[in-house]
Symmetry: C2
Subunit: 432 residues, 2 copies
């Protein structure tokens, strides 16, 4: 049984969903134009928040880790999109080496690797999985909770080629966000690395993403005649934070204050009675570490030792010095009173599905992607490609279509963002 989904919708979002649905031909035409100008990332997932009055992306992941959570009915959609992606990025490829994250004990994550491997195989590639972990010295099979299994093999560098035993791949597909920096073994490869190394967190900054999104949201809002705030959270950055040594907290407090003030104004304009909140998170990094919700600027000045410690490092021990302050967007979607956050999956510029992160013990203003958090994934029942023109603007196919539009706006932003980072050779030159 799939639980019933309830959303407390108020006026503005219904208006927004209606605006999106009515403007569909203009939107798809505009998006086609964007993809003529910008190359879509190979794949991505976008975390959305649907607050009833606002629908906005809060995070764009270029190394998506939940393909196993998608509705299996939409596997053909993933395969078809992967075929299109391969044609664009590496048409000559026969064999691809998939390099996953190092959490080999997280069998949920490994199910994602298995799902991704399956999609790529069905798209016609030979796929092997190469582990960055030094303790992987021989191929080993890991059994997965869903009855499948996966083989992890040690990566071998041969000159400027990345290989595994008996397999010299045409391309390297990263499913590792490089939070710990770019491993030596991945540097200067002659094979194409997809997504490029600069899409990892050692280069990428959320602030760059949301700066690009600002621009995209402005253009889109103008296109369909809406207030861009309805799809775009306010944000600001502080570049010189040291949580351990309590430096830069005033900058943070000032930005939090500014953002809360701006949000308060917008809430007043739209008659929203909720209390505004802001989210403070590491500008580089993922997995919901280094994330904090605040309702008042004073909170960032009064952090206790544990809170500061929690904010100071993200995944793989990376230290946090750059921080993003983002308008908090309430989650008003729920399943049996549990908060539900939609995550949209894309391969190339095609929306291939999505799921809800459902968490029963969290509030609507909390981060659902927290460390150690065991959300229940709830796959979307219908695709995001088949809005129902005769249905209400908020019936599931139409809501999912609205999600697909906002997620693709974030994807356009990611494409623009990626154009702005130095390429790997440029990066190497800077370091050297």
């Amino acid at each position: 049984m799939i639980p019933h989904l309830t959303t407390a919708l108020s006026g503005p979002l219904l208006d927004l969903e209606r605006s999106i649905l009515n403007a569909m031909p203009a939107i798809e035409h505009w998006l086609r134009g964007q993809w003529q100008e910008h190359a879509a990332p190979f794949y991505a997932s976008v975390d959305l928040r649907n607050s009833g009055f606002k629908l906005a992306p809060v995070d764009t992941n270029l190394f998506p880790g939940g393909f196993n959570n998608l509705n299996p009915d939409f596997l053909p959609l993933c395969v078809q999109a992967a075929m299109a992606a391969i044609e664009k990025v590496c048409p000559e490829a026969r064999g691809v080496l998939l390099v996953p994250e190092n959490h080999t004990r997280n069998t949920f994550y490994l199910q994602n690797v298995a799902a991704l491997t399956n999609i790529l195989r069905l798209a016609g590639l030979n796929v092997r999985v190469g582990s960055l972990l030094p303790e992987t010295t021989a191929a080993r099979t890991i059994d997965l909770p869903n009855g499948q299994s996966i083989v992890l093999e040690p990566l071998r560098r041969k000159g400027n080629r990345l290989t595994v035993e008996g397999f010299d791949p045409c391309a390297v597909l990263l499913n590792n966000d490089l939070s710990a920096g770019v491993p030596e073994i991945l540097k200067g490869l002659e094979q194409p690395v997809i997504p490029p190394l600069i899409a990892g967190w050692s280069t990428r900054r959320k602030s760059r993403h949301f700066t690009a999104y600002d621009q995209v949201a402005q253009a889109f809002a103008k296109l369909i005649g809406i207030d861009p705030w309805l799809i775009n959270p306010y944000f600001a950055t502080c570049g010189q934070i040291n949580f351990k040594e309590r430096r830069g907290e005033e900058c943070l407090a000032a930005h939090v204050d500014e953002i809360l003030k701006n949000v308060r104004e917008k809430y007043r304009e739209y008659g929203i009675t909720e209390a505004p909140f802001a989210v403070v998170k590491a500008d580089a990094g993922t997995y919901g570490m280094g994330v904090m919700m605040v309702r008042d600027a004073s909170e960032v000045l009064e952090l206790n030792r544990n809170q500061r410690k929690k904010m100071a490092v993200v995944k793989e021990g990376l230290e946090v010095h750059e921080v993003l302050v983002q308008e908090g967007v309430y989650t008003y979607e729920s399943v049996d009173d549990a908060v539900a956050e939609p995550v949209i999956y894309m391969i190339d510029h095609f929306v291939v599905g999505g799921f809800y992160r459902v968490h029963t013990s969290r509030g609507k203003d909390e981060n659902l992607n927290a460390p150690g958090m065991h959300f229940v994934p709830l796959a979307f029942e219908t695709s995001c490609l088949t809005p129902d023109f005769t249905g209400s603007p908020d019936c599931p196919p139409n809501r999912f279509y609205a999600y697909s539009v906002v997620a693709r706006l974030a994807l356009v932003a990611a494409a623009i963002e990626l154009e702005q980072y130095p390429t790997e050779p440029e990066l190497a030159a800077t370091v050297a």
Copy 2:
């Protein structure tokens, strides 16, 4: 309830399906290469015959008329493929004018038009349907058996643009095979016409298609190491036939004789005990008119008046002077003892689904697409994109994958074929 599908499979096809499945990465890589060299038609359907010892295309339709027969579960796949097709062929288009066949009393066909319209709308286009029929002088709504309805509007020519009232489309999408020639109103349009007019039967010849297919089948057979005959029916053409005046029948008899002889040899080689047969059909035209099955060359010399009359004209009264003689491929697929012929649907170069034409009162060597024939469509239950590597070579997902491969070979042939016809301006120059 969906009937159980049974196929009497013998050795060679199981071998063929196994060869296709095993070579999947090589096949998809090779196909990617083909699509780098040749532009896929906007859409197509391919009639296949699965004889147990042979799997081959017998007809490739560039104006497919059965989108309504596809499994509705795969609508998202159609939408995604249509998005990709539009991006390639007419990225700038917002509005498209669909020009269907003239059979307005065939509500089954009109359901196809409605299904196609829906796919294009979901892909983000404004779509209107313009009728070529002179009696369509005002917009009229036609109710369809499935409860939907469709609006047909009179076409208006404005200078070199094709329009309907209040709608100036960016592109014209033909779902009309132009059997009666190219109507004046479609000539010299400044809007892109998709597929191009030269894809219609006033230019197209089946023999050109199968000549191109010969070449494709050879290359493919070499790629996966099989006898090309297993996927390719013998054929020959006669260019100077006049059935009414009984001219050219000796040429036809000679070709039938030659083909039957060659097939007999192949049957002997593979230990097939069935009697070979040949199909005689109009080289230009469709809808199963002007089609005849023969088991001996003498049959074409002994045609009675009715048979000759039947062969002399195809759809829309077009006279038949060029004839294709094709090796007959037995249909060994059946549903409850009814013969079932698979039809594969493609948008751009993506296989989006298929169905079986099921006919209870016909034999395994008869043409299932005969005039007035009311077949029962049986939608494929699974997609053609998700072969099961752990299943038997003949389990449905693997059989459908084999279908998708052979259908795409025919699509490559269609792409090559279309490159060979003169373009519309060249054609106009020749006529003038």
